[in-house]
Symmetry: C2
Subunit: 225 residues, 2 copies
């Protein structure tokens, strides 16, 4: 199924590369890729000392509730050939995968191609390029649900191509479709590129708040108090 | 049902006041009080320009899912007489209301007593003194659920009595009981009393993060993109 080029309409030339992009709901078979994506994000953020996720802990906690009612993961795939037609899933009438054709102004060199290749699909050259991890929240001043984006990640070779914006836009579009009030997330203050990117998308980036966490032994101390 | 004094065992004297405290799950009949509590919190935070909650919007969004699977509200009640025995709710086996007797070292003068009085209970002098509003989140570096505390509020006459700690402890205890990894929340950086209070409870108060929000017209712009 050919989809229209939405990022650019320039005619193809040797320096460009036509790619097909799809954003779809993750399934259990994506767990090994999701695990590696979250780890790469921890490396990027310099927070590997906090990384304790395993494929097994992901498998046992993801996909336990219908999408959008709890934890939800979108996967971003990139392919040099069109994606096969998506079979409509009657249980997921709230969501249609986002598919688009993009003309990239330079080819992507992906050294982790084999690691992130999508196996078992008709579209054999597709690769997982990023993900967004989100769940409902509830801003009490609005008393309407929203989405909280826990992770938004695009692998290094795929950055600065508009893919991060596509992922976050897919969450925003879903929020609007469901009548949700807001999309919230957090950014590290030193990540000025990300802050600029979010502000250009229309987000407010607030100051003056500090996250608080009670975990590990400090949390266990509250058992049966 | 008399419960043991856990905050102090000093003998009663004319300057002290014995009170009974209960933390229970909110129900639909608490909505008018919850609405007023969230508004008082907005006033305290200097954020009334962001307050858009109505009793109707609360009624139509709260109590739609079993407690702890989505948005959950605990109500803190204070009474001069013991609470009647709680009827066990077989659908809520995961949670037992917290009840305790406390000896306050000065009586509470509550000018909003009539507004926050609990109507329709056998315990006719009980008053709603605070609330905590929370829902599951999912720290992806741990791949285990946690709780995110959206609001923690104690009305002014009831502060500096240990009630805020009781509310947050009830959430922490519930998190441990359910095998959750963490309790997260946000604090305003200027609220040094709150930061000190959280750190004393064992929480980490992080620096360097900024909350991002996409809402209102900026969010609507993503509809059907």
């Amino acid at each position: 199924m050919e989809t229209p080029a939405t990022l650019t309409t320039r005619p193809e030339n040797p320096k460009t590369q036509t790619s097909y992009v799809r954003i779809r709901l993750a399934t259990q078979s994506d767990v090994p890729h999701i695990h590696k994506l979250i780890h790469q994000m921890a490396v990027f953020e310099g927070l590997t000392h906090l990384f304790a996720t395993t494929e097994s802990s992901l498998s046992s906690t993801l996909f336990k509730s219908p999408p959008f009612t709890a934890l939800t993961v979108f996967i971003l795939e990139v392919s040099l050939s069109p994606f096969p037609p998506t079979q409509p899933d009657p249980t997921l009438s709230q969501f249609t995968p986002v598919e688009t054709r993009v003309i990239l102004n330079s080819p992507i060199v992906d050294e982790d191609y084999e690691t992130f290749r999508v196996v078992g699909e008709e579209c054999l050259d597709a690769v997982v390029a990023g993900h967004v991890f989100f769940f409902p929240n509830y801003p009490s001043f609005l008393s309407k649900p929203g989405f909280y984006v826990e992770d938004l990640f695009v692998r290094e070779p795929y950055r600065r191509r508009g893919f991060g914006k596509m992922l976050l836009s897919a969450v925003a579009e879903q929020a609007v479709k469901m009548g949700f009030a807001r999309v919230d997330w957090m950014v590290l203050g030193w990540n000025v590129n990300a802050i600029k990117f979010y502000e250009e998308m229309g987000a407010e980036v607030l100051e003056g708040w500090r996250p608080c966490r009670l975990g590990g032994d400090a949390l266990q101390a509250y058992a049966n108090k």
